[in-house]
């Protein structure tokens, strides 16, 4: 990996060079009842709107590569026949400016399932193809458990990753495009003193994590505790509202609806992101529901993230960003659920 450093004031110029394309980054959206700033990812036109010191965005960045609603195809009906037109979209380049490690790792995980296998998802592939990612180091929040999930640092999946030190940015350069980008600004190789400061910054950040999830033998424990009563207790608290899936950077499941225009000349097929906690997630025609009870759906969500995905890809689907717990109206958090399931073992 190649490292570069540049003065903090040069970031504005870096932003300006990229500005010919659509830039999405963390912006301020308001304040909560405690006066804390609420951040979210949005299109950034003015450098001063970009808040790289953000704590955590409420939503993940997924609406830019897994839109909540997406047209899969359109139909034209004529003389008892139909024509299907598919627009895989995604032709416009997209710059992510300021993704934290958790969200970069979320993309890496989604790539495995959505771009892999026999049937890569072309819609996602198109959205991913022209993406340029500038990562940014973060300050761990009390709810962040990415360190437990092994996603507290990103090894790949970005073009440039910035860590702010006193007066300078320490940049990891991972693509030729990022390398050339830096030619536009006042940038140089780091010296040994800056290496040391960079490693110090990493160590300081490491020491700031509070939340923790014990993932040792978790796949086995989830199997052993599949019938544990504690799932029912969480199920009784869960509102089955699906908020956790909507804010999750890696929840990708969806439903499909088809529509016909009022003039019967056109129709369309639309995909919408779904949630396995919603009542009809696993219901089939004829009325049978494979997961009719709230706790079976909540359990399935944990089972898929921490058991099924691990079996398929040898890593968890959860990146430990903690957004689900922060947004959950019933106050259910991943560290608490997993700790309680582990505790029922003893």
């Amino acid at each position: 990996m190649l490292f570069k450093v540049f003065p903090v004031c040069e970031l504005n110029r870096l932003f300006a060079v990229l500005q010919s394309e659509r830039i999405v980054g963390p912006v301020k959206k308001g304040e909560d009842q405690h006066g804390r700033i609420l951040y979210d990812f949005d299109v950034v036109r003015d450098f001063s709107d970009l808040h790289l010191d953000f704590t955590q965005t409420i939503h993940s960045a997924k609406k830019y590569f897994l839109p909540y609603r997406e047209n899969l195809c359109t139909f034209t009906f004529k003389d008892g026949d139909w024509q299907k037109e598919v627009d895989y979209g995604g032709s416009a380049p997209l710059i992510f400016f300021g993704l934290h490690s958790c969200d970069i790792n979320a993309l890496n995980k989604l790539d495995k399932v959505l771009l892999g296998g026999r049937y890569p998802n072309s819609f996602y592939a198109k959205n991913r193809a022209k993406m340029f990612i500038v990562g940014h180091s973060c300050t761990p929040q009390p709810f962040c458990f990415c360190k437990s999930m092994g996603t507290d640092s990103a090894i790949h999946g970005f073009d440039l990753f910035l860590t702010r030190l006193d007066g300078i940015y320490f940049a990891e350069v991972l693509s030729a495009r990022a390398f050339h980008l830096l030619e536009n600004i006042d940038c140089r190789d780091p010296d040994s003193e800056e290496h040391r400061r960079y490693l110090e910054a990493i160590a300081t950040r490491e020491s700031m994590f509070v939340a923790h999830v014990d993932t040792s033998d978790l796949t086995k424990i989830l199997d052993l505790e599949f019938q544990a009563p504690v799932w029912k207790e969480w199920g009784e608290r869960c509102l089955s509202c699906g908020t956790c899936a909507q804010v999750c950077p890696t929840c990708y499941c969806y439903g499909v609806e088809e529509h016909v225009d009022m003039n019967f000349a056109h129709g369309r097929k639309e995909k919408m992101l779904y949630s396995c906690n919603l009542l009809d997630f696993a219901s089939v025609a004829g009325g049978h529901n494979f997961r009719p009870e709230s706790h079976t759906r909540l359990k399935y969500r944990y089972y898929h993230k921490h058991r099924g995905f691990v079996e398929a890809f040898e890593e968890s689907l959860c990146v430990g960003c903690g957004r689900c717990g922060q947004s959950c109206l019933a106050g259910i958090t991943v560290p608490e659920v997993i700790a309680s399931v582990r505790a029922s073992k003893e």
């Binding site: 990996m1 899969l72 139909f75 009906f77 008892g80 026949d81 139909w82 299907k84 598919v86 895989y88 790539d111 399932v113 959505l114 771009l115 892999g116 296998g117 026999r118 049937y119 890569p120 998802n121 072309s122 819609f123 592939a125 198109k126 991913r128 193809a129 022209k130 993406m131 999946g157 970005f158 073009d159 991972l174 199997d223 599949f226 990708y252 499941c253 969806y254 439903g255 499909v256 609806e257 088809e258 529509h259 016909v260 129709g267 369309r268 995909k271 779904y274 396995c276 997630f281 696993a282 219901s283 025609a285 004829g286 049978h288 494979f290 079976t296 399935y300 898929h304 099924g308 398929a312």
Partner: protein, 292 residues
């Protein structure tokens, strides 16, 4: 050093939303609720290349109305032409119930795993179907009958709620001509019914009792499909009788919106039913939480 997997380059995998255009060439009413639809791919080249295995499914799309998975009910030897046995029970299938021959539909697939009848050659075969479970089983039944001499004893045990709900009744005489034991049981009698009334497990128990224990242990494969509640009773009986768990095959139903391992709706614990199923051996089923 890689920043992005190769498959996210533009143009990768643009078949995701592709479906074959197909025509409903014939519709046969089977019961009050179910019809058999014969469907033929329109394009001659696609028709020639469309190959499936017994137990696989397709996604059937009625443009503008919906798309859903259906197991293929016909024999793979019918090339480019497939039969789907469909109960009018949801929005899309109720609409389908009202369309006739000539309707244009979309077909994608075939998807998923199949009943490995090619590996069952030389063995006795037990096919056990409950209700609409006969729809996916008709494909391996016909496949086995077409190559009857390659198999040992073949028994079909089929249970339905009522005699009037039995599917493919017009074919039973033909099946029997291939030296097949076909036993049918219903939950509720109707006027004119002369067969047994009761649970499918009663017939299975009798069949197991009459068979040789060695044959069940050493050279029997079972193919099972029915409503969720039926699997455990039937499979447990087979296991007790000595049929190895890896030689019992089931076809599981799940909700699906893509058939391609992406929508996540058919997931059972760690597995996609559309990719690793719908046909699972019972060993895999025992290893999956909440599969049956």
């Amino acid at each position: 050093m890689k920043t992005k997997p190769e498959s996210i380059q533009p143009g990768a995998g643009e078949q995701f939303e592709y479906s074959y255009k197909a025509e409903i060439t014939n519709v046969f009413p089977l019961t009050r609720m179910e019809k058999l639809y014969q469907i033929q791919l329109v394009d001659a080249k696609e028709r020639a290349e469309f190959i499936f295995q017994p137990g696989q499914f397709v996604m059937l799309e009625l443009p503008g109305l919906g798309e859903a998975p259906f197991s293929i009910s016909s024999s793979p030897l019918r090339r480019g032409d497939l039969e789907l046995c469909i109960r009018a029970v949801g929005n899309m299938t109720r609409f389908l119930d009202r369309v006739g021959r000539g309707a244009m539909v979309g077909i994608s697939g075939p998807f998923g795993t199949h009943f490995p009848v090619e590996k069952m050659e030389g063995e006795d075969i037990l096919l056990i179907a409950g209700g609409l479970g006969i729809a996916p089983l008709r494909s391996p039944i016909l496949t086995i009958l077409e190559q009857r001499s390659r198999y040992g004893r073949v028994d079909i045990i089929y249970g339905a709620r009522r005699p009037s709900e039995l599917l493919f009744g017009y074919e039973y005489a033909m099946w029997r001509r291939f030296d097949v034991g076909l036993e049918i049981i219903v939950d509720h009698e109707e006027p004119g019914w002369q067969g047994p009334v009761g649970l499918i497990t009663e017939i299975l128990r009798a069949r197991i009792g009459a068979g040789s224990a060695d044959a069940l242990r050493q050279r029997t494969s079972a193919i099972v499909c029915g409503p969720p509640v039926m699997f455990r009773f039937v499979c447990d009986l087979l296991v007790q009788a000595g049929v190895p768990v890896e030689k019992i095959f089931v076809s599981l139903e799940r909700r699906m919106h893509c058939g391609r391992g992406k929508c996540c709706r058919c997931n059972i614990g760690s597995t996609y039913t559309c990719l690793e199923g719908p046909v699972f051996d019972y060993w895999s089923v025992l290893n999956l939480k909440e599969a049956i």
